[in-house]
Symmetry: C2
């Protein structure tokens, strides 16, 4: 009976974990579509991203409930509980990545639907978005395989994204100064760049939860070097 | 024995809840200091906010651990578990409010430490910050008293903050167009305004967790009108 229960518990946990990965897949698609929409001026794609955000939200709500039910029914031990905590926190970040994708899509509408005086320019945005999608994939992979070593790599990529964002900011300021009538449009693009930068932060958070889950050590708010020590220990 | 355990459990829960309120108090202070620093050009105050952020982070880590321990040891029932879930999520939002306050302080340094060509202007920032501090207080109060009715009021205030942010954005664009050499400075102020706007979002999240806790209904991602119906039901 105990074994039976434990097998059921494992199955429930596995089902929740695979749905988190599904949610991650949807969120990844949302980012890619949002950035494609922005760069190619594809307003239909932007609209689709905005409409699909409710699917991300619904997945968050449903996964949250399932995790609560599992905890209430199964009264998990320390290790399993840490896993469930990791899942709750991961879902929160995935949902917020979804929000950022929707924000990029809303900015796309503003950029292309207003009377444009100049061609929009996206110096670093494509590159930044490829970086954060890679970070998200690594974070989901680390979640799936319970691999804490990905966290330091992702933290380094996050520093790269931040650097890219600062560089994009300098470009955008230059464009605005060249023709002040474009300020409003380039500020919308700036907000889109900021949304991409934030997606990187969320992927970093997710990889830190995996370290906590596996190592039992909270590496949030620590430097990359400290994190490296914790992970390799 | 059971009663004894339950009393201990209540005491543990009460201790965690009061520490969440303490964390809320610290975070509120961080916002107020950050905005005062920005408006008055007080770089020492800005520096203090940046330094104090680690205290907010440490409170998050320690509260997270305590909640995990309580769940593992006490195996709480559905109602108590919902309370603990509310606490975990509330802590996450409080920590991110702390990050936003630190961001305002970092922007303050950029605004005042660079070679300024013009006087910084903060049309709506003071007003916005008073609104979000009020929202945070209400959200903490709703958390303390387990009062779900505050959520609709806070959601309405959040719409006001968003409107104020859009108005501030229009002002800032006007200043930038008047003198393009000020673009960089006003973009730093824009990021500070954005941080204040985000604090409003986090306070709104917190009040929604209270509704979930008390009513068992997830009102995230629903309109104010729907939320009103759920809360008053």
């Amino acid at each position: 009976m105990a074994e039976h229960t434990s097998k059921q518990f494992d199955a429930e946990l596995e089902s929740v974990r695979s749905r988190v990965l599904q949610m991650g897949g949807l969120v990844e698609e949302q980012i890619i579509h949002a950035v494609d929409g922005l760069i190619n001026g594809d307003l239909e794609l932007a609209q689709a991203v905005i409409q699909n955000d409710h699917r991300v939200n619904a997945m968050e709500v449903s996964l949250d409930e399932d995790v609560s039910h599992i905890i209430a029914r199964r009264q998990p031990t320390a290790g399993d509980l840490r896993m469930l905590m990791m899942i709750i926190k991961t879902i929160t970040d995935l949902e917020r990545i979804g929000d950022e994708a929707a924000k990029i899509a809303r900015m796309t509408k503003l950029v292309y639907e207003s009377d444009r005086i100049a061609q929009p320019r996206f110096s670093q945005i494509k590159f930044m978005s490829e970086l954060v999608v890679d970070m998200l994939r690594r974070a989901l992979d680390a979640f799936a395989r319970l691999d804490p070593t990905a966290a330091t790599q992702i933290a380094r990529q996050d520093m790269q994204v931040d650097e890219q964002f600062r560089s994009e900011l300098r470009h955008l300021i230059t464009y605005m100064m060249e023709d002040p009538r474009t300020i409003s449009m380039f500020i919308d693009i700036l907000f889109a760049a900021k949304a991409i930068e934030r997606i990187g932060d969320h992927a970093k958070n997710m990889s830190e939860y995996v370290v906590y889950m596996v190592k039992g050590k909270d590496v949030r708010h620590t430097s990359v070097e400290e994190m490296e020590r914790e992970v390799l220990e």
